[in-house]
């Protein structure tokens, strides 16, 4: 008990658990989403305490920021569809049959037991376990970058990262597929003050996103955090109607979605040969290649996240019907 910050940790941990409970128990869905966002931000704070600033940034930008926007947009759409847009008091969108109390208790007891078992297993495990520390430290000079997390993401475990971008690509294809022809809820009109704010914020966000990407080579930051921040540019543009997706833009959007994955996998394949395997960047070009991949992946992530927020594939009105008729 030497460190007074332990009290802070305890308080933070308890608030996080309390917020998690509140997210599930509060009746209003809007409140649940807002509480979830707060929960995410406090978790990010906890991760800063655990000296994981990269993860905290990613969580705040993607796990909380973009996800929160996605959730709120969906809630708006659901309220529009069910005609409860102007009745905030209509908290549940669909009539929900309450779960009987005994079921709730059994469920709680079951999950409590699982938590107990996991907690015992966790406390039993070595305090500071073995890890990759030594291996990473040894391999860092050959990685081409100075920041360990970036080195792991873009070099040592680049294969994982490529597949992660593939997951994003799969998501945007699936979303376009699911939402084809879906009518859109009208965007709320937000007024001049907000428009002014958007004009001020847009260039600033671009700068911040680019900075995060650039600084990732030697300090916390990188493609994913930068991409998420840049995605918020897209969100602002879409919300403020400075940009309205047009059917004619589909081709370029598709290109932007696959740009990161395409260049990443092409580079991975092209560097191989002559005794080298896929993903094995030659040391003298490693930094350049990683920067190239990161930059393009950032663009793809930003566009993809913004497209996930927008949802539907922009299809000309009636195009779907026309095609079905012929």
């Amino acid at each position: 008990m030497t460190d007074p910050l332990v009290i802070f940790d305890l308080l933070l941990g308890l608030s996080i658990v309390a917020l998690a409970l509140a997210v599930l128990s509060v009746r209003d869905l809007f409140a649940a989403i807002v509480l979830f966002v707060i929960f995410g931000l406090l978790s990010a704070l906890a991760w800063v305490r655990l000296s994981a600033p990269d993860v905290a940034l990613a969580e705040a930008a993607i796990g909380t920021g973009v996800t929160g926007a996605l959730l709120l947009k969906t809630l708006h759409h659901l309220r529009y569809v069910t005609g409860t847009l102007d009745r905030p008091e209509a908290m549940n969108l669909t009539p929900v049959t309450p779960v009987p109390m005994p079921v709730l208790w059994v469920n709680a007891a079951f999950c409590g037991l699982i938590a107990l078992g996991l907690a015992v297993a966790f406390l039993e495990a070595p305090k500071v376990g073995p890890g990759f520390d030594a291996l990473v430290a040894e391999a860092m000079p050959a990685s081409g970058v100075d920041h360990p997390v970036t080195a792991v993401l873009l070099n040592f475990r680049a294969y994982d990262t490529l597949m992660e971008v593939v997951v994003l690509l799969a998501a945007v294809i699936a979303v376009w597929q699911v939402e084809r022809g879906l009518s859109e809820a009208p965007a709320p009109h937000l007024g001049e003050v907000w428009q002014g704010f958007a004009r001020l914020a847009l260039p600033a966000i671009v700068v911040v996103g680019t900075y995060l990407l650039w600084v990732g080579a030697e300090a916390p930051g990188g493609a994913f955090q930068g991409g998420a921040v840049l995605a918020s540019v897209g969100l602002l543009l879409l919300l403020s109607r400075f940009y309205v997706p047009q059917p004619a833009h589909r081709g370029i959007a598709r290109l932007a979605f696959v740009l990161g994955t395409g260049v990443f996998s092409a580079v991975a394949l092209l560097v191989s040969g002559g005794g080298r395997v896929a993903f094995e960047y030659p040391l003298e070009h490693a930094k350049t290649l990683i920067l190239l991949i990161e930059g393009l992946v950032t663009i793809s992530i930003a566009v993809t996240l913004a497209a996930l927020f927008h949802g539907r594939e922009p299809v000309a009105l009636g195009e779907e019907e026309r095609r079905n008729d012929t």
Partner: protein
Amino acid sequence: MMLESLSMILIALGTVFFIAGTVGLLRFPDIYCRLHALTKADGLGLALIALGVALLADSMGEVFRIILIWFFVAVASATCGHLIARYERRSGEGPSYD
């Protein structure tokens, strides 16, 4: 040492403002009063904390970034306050004067 205690005092003062804002959020009767408490107190609280942290910064670059953060948070929270009040007024709930 002097600088450190000064920054401590500033941060503590900022925290007091945040607590006052939170109390206002919980205790005030309608949305407009709550917004008033929240935005005022938080704006000032954040400014004090930013000042306190800036005193501890190593370089001018860091000070510059802290000022930027303060500026954007202030602008964003002002816009948010405006949006909330605007939504409330449009949905027909005027301020209550009793």
